[in-house]
Symmetry: C2
Subunit: 363 residues, 2 copies
């Protein structure tokens, strides 16, 4: 599998008529080579594929590059000193180096050019991060497992954590703990837990607001398994839902259903957004749904395809997307329902299975 | 306080002979304006200071900019559409826009230039992120509080989490939970917990290694309070320490003491590194301490000054640094002791207070 990924990376390099490909994003390095660290550099060249790390990862990198079967494509080079001067001996004059211009900063590029003045540098955008948009079975299974952990954690959260007077911040911490203890490698992103009227702030940070009877409760969170993310949002009511809460919830759920029904390989991503948006607009809440419907997800929580009304992408079999319509009414509150779906041959299959009925949490 | 920060940002802008300063890093936006989000843009101009956000933060940004006392310097502009075209109406022809070239990617700069072709762009490096290196009393107090939470969590971790057979991954999750439940806003970085011979990998990710009698246990983790980080490492032994474990530990502790004794405003950062390194080298382990001694810490876990043998910086009163020497012996294990210290008028004061004696954890 890794070998296919290396081949795919090489193909991108050739397409840009470059001799070398420089990979500097940790998650891309892990995806292509299998080596995991917080800081390393890969240089894929015409003859050699090099992995550079500093002292902190030296023992790990040495083992990674040495102890494998013959034909192992990676060679370890320890890095001393600062800047990018370690690259110079490995890039012959006249080389052309493709780099990730959507990740390399303006300052880093200047330092690269200074360190390797005899090479030409060519920026490539989103092509490396786009590798892996189509999931292998093993990747889809890991994402399903991440989703399962999230579901179990959320169930525990509803049952055990939500007590009158608990703050959003503490509730979010308890949800994070449940995920971690059930096996999530890390949060896929900063967990959002909001109560009451604050649920109308689609992405606010959990704060000191305390849970009270009748509050909407919105939780948006994700887990990680084998470096792959899950992402799910549920909205519940603490106590008996009011008629309006119920009404908003049902509209959002119908919007999500419409989008999920429209999701299949070959259709335009924006048609899903349109399907969900039409339901919400027809119910009179068009202006209260201001964000995109969803996004691709994998080793990054946000990746291609973008599922918005401006997206020009076509859905592909094997990619995983989120579908997350919402209605946000300042002063009252908001409702969002988010699930992950894997695009299958003919349609799509949800990977998140927490109940989508409006839960009334009994205190 | 925020007003002083805005003034400091403006001074940097003028120094580069620019009319506008574009801030795109979320933590810098929060530091300068007080507005917290995962995505926003600040444009500090000759007449107006603008805060741009998309729908997700619109309600929050509107309130932030509206509900303050008169003279509030920020005006909210909602963003629709993609790219940076929203900036164009606010940057008059002939303007010079300073941007964070250590954070803006090569691709983003191209899109900026396309969106605002009539402006000149000038990169500034580390000056904005360097604001706040010298802490106010309130900032130092928040860091102390973050450290306190970490200490309490670590004590609980030693007492309750470490049982024979627990995996590094689960132990790390339990440490994270303790931090979160004791009030940390989030982990300052991915928590490191390593057991046995794996402690020689200075920064490895917690894995499936299970705790056994006689193992070294290394934990490196940090908490966050008011957006400010703590960072601490402790090494313990599960059971009775061997003579060699004890010996390595004492060397590292002496190295740390030497560096802490050398730490005061006005001295070269590299002299601390040299003081610690000399102790380890004289004990015969010079090659086993391959990383820098420490780093500044604040709203970023790594910030200026860098405390290494190549650092050219001079320590300043009011900055907070980490001092973290280590000895790493592949196949045997490693020892690292890390504390945070605030540089005071004459010397320095430790902000982390977990016992620095070698703890033998009784199972």
């Amino acid at each position: 599998m890794r070998r296919n990924r290396l081949t795919a990376a090489r193909t991108i390099c050739s397409k840009h008529r470059c001799t070398h490909l420089l990979i500097t994003v940790a998650s891309d390095i892990e995806y292509i080579s299998g080596f995991s660290s917080s800081q390393a550099v890969l240089l894929i060249g015409p003859e050699k594929n090099l992995l550079f790390t500093d002292f902190r990862y030296q023992e790990a990198a040495r083992r990674f590059c040495a102890a494998r079967r013959s034909g192992w494509p990676w060679r370890f080079v320890p890095v001393k000193g600062s800047g990018f001067s370690f690259l110079a001996p490995y890039v012959a004059p006249g080389s052309a180096v493709a780099f990730q211009s959507d990740a390399v900063t303006v300052d880093e590029l200047e330092r690269l050019k200074k360190a390797v003045p005899h090479a030409r540098f060519a920026g490539i955008v989103r092509e490396i991060s786009g590798l892996g948009t189509v999931k292998t079975d093993a990747e889809a299974a890991a994402m399903k497992k991440a989703a399962r952990i999230g579901e179990a954690a959320f169930e525990r959260f509803l049952r055990q954590s939500l007590r009158p007077g608990i703050t959003e911040r503490r509730a979010a911490a308890m949800l994070d703990c449940a995920c971690a203890l059930l096996g999530s490698e890390r949060s896929a992103f900063d967990t959002i837990v909001l109560f009451g009227e604050r649920t109308s702030l689609p992405h606010d940070r959990p704060g000191g607001r305390r849970l009270a009877q009748g509050d909407l409760v919105l939780a948006d969170f994700g887990c990680t398994v084998a470096g792959l993310c899950s992402d799910m949002t549920r909205t519940a009511v603490f106590g008996k839902p009011s008629q309006r809460q119920r009404e908003l919830y049902e509209i959002v759920k119908r919007a999500q259903d419409a989008a999920l029904r429209a999701a299949r390989p070959g259709v335009a991503a924006r048609s899903l957004d349109a399907a969900a948006r039409a339901v919400i607009r027809n119910a009179g809440y068009g202006r209260a749904f201001g964000h995109a419907l969803g996004h691709g997800i994998g080793r990054r929580v946000h990746e291609r395809p973008r599922i918005s009304n401006r997206s020009k992408e076509i859905l592909q079999e094997g990619s995983v997307i989120t579908v997350e319509p919402g209605i946000y009414l300042p002063g009252f509150g908001g409702v969002r329902i988010e699930d992950m779906a894997l695009l299958t041959k003919r349609d799509c299959r949800r990977l998140t299975h927490s109940p989508r009925e409006l839960v009334d949490i009994q205190s």
